[in-house]
Point group: C2
Chain length 162, copies 2
């Protein structure tokens, strides 16, 4: 049995205890952008309930064109106004460089990606970079509350980057 | 008090009960790509525990360049081999068109986004489109188990798209 099949059995149990549909717009007017890291259960880390916040995630929790797309849709069509950014300690993005990763793909497949891998060498600096990219986008109307944090995978604590 | 400040109090409670660091690579060798919709608590929907699966999310749960980047990092550097895609009923992406959304941004800001908004008109068709984009990427080595689902926000059930 694949992992996917096993998780579908979990879903059957989830559905059995499920209570009705919630409204589409996030009830707390919030969008969270976090790293895809398996150890960050965003709803539990922030004490969020279903229906309260958009959750956007990718490798590193970085801001590229696609996160601007998601945040623009979140704010312009679904009414969110606050943004929380979450990077974390022991992140895989600290362990390689764009050049080396792309060279390894080129060696393996013969094709070099045209995109940046978005590796970084300092967590706080990259959180600030993500905030700067959001504040510099013409497409994100609400940037008064864009706050960035580093999640400590050893303690479960969010430490704010200032 | 902002929503963000309130959630930071939740995080203090989470950290107080937190039990030690887990390994970086996802224990179940899985990456989930889901819509950012607030109602989809991916860990609960799939019965995932912390540390088990990468979770990638964006508006629609679509596959653009940035999801290929995240999946390439997930598989090539952190050992995942299975992919689960999750779209859902009552999705905001069904309620607008790229042309209208981009025209409204242009009208509001004077600048038209160079990116696609990735709106879609049929859930099953777009899940298949996402699977096709992954299988057609030269950068994703493991595509034997790429399965797509529509999460029903009224029942909590994942229905597989075939």
């Amino acid at each position: 049995m694949s992992v996917t099949d096993e998780l579908l059995e979990h879903n059957a149990a989830y559905a059995a205890a499920f209570t009705g549909p919630l409204p589409l717009p996030p009830a707390r007017g919030l969008a969270v952008l976090a790293c895809m890291d398996a150890r960050i259960d965003v709803y539990r880390v922030l004490g969020l309930k279903e229906g309260e916040s958009h959750v956007i995630r990718n490798a590193g929790g970085v801001v590229t064109e696609d996160e601007i797309r998601s945040l623009a849709i979140s704010q312009r069509l679904l009414g969110t106004t606050e943004i929380i950014l979450i990077h974390h300690t022991d992140c895989g993005m600290l362990t390689f460089t764009d050049d080396a990763f792309k060279a390894s793909i080129q060696e393996d497949t013969g094709v070099k990606p045209s995109w940046a891998a978005e590796a970084f060498s300092d967590l706080d600096t990259d959180v600030r970079q993500s905030i700067a990219r959001i504040k510099n986008s013409p497409y994100i109307p609400h940037t008064d509350s864009v706050r960035g944090f580093v999640f400590d995978v050893a303690t479960g604590k969010l430490n704010e980057v200032v």
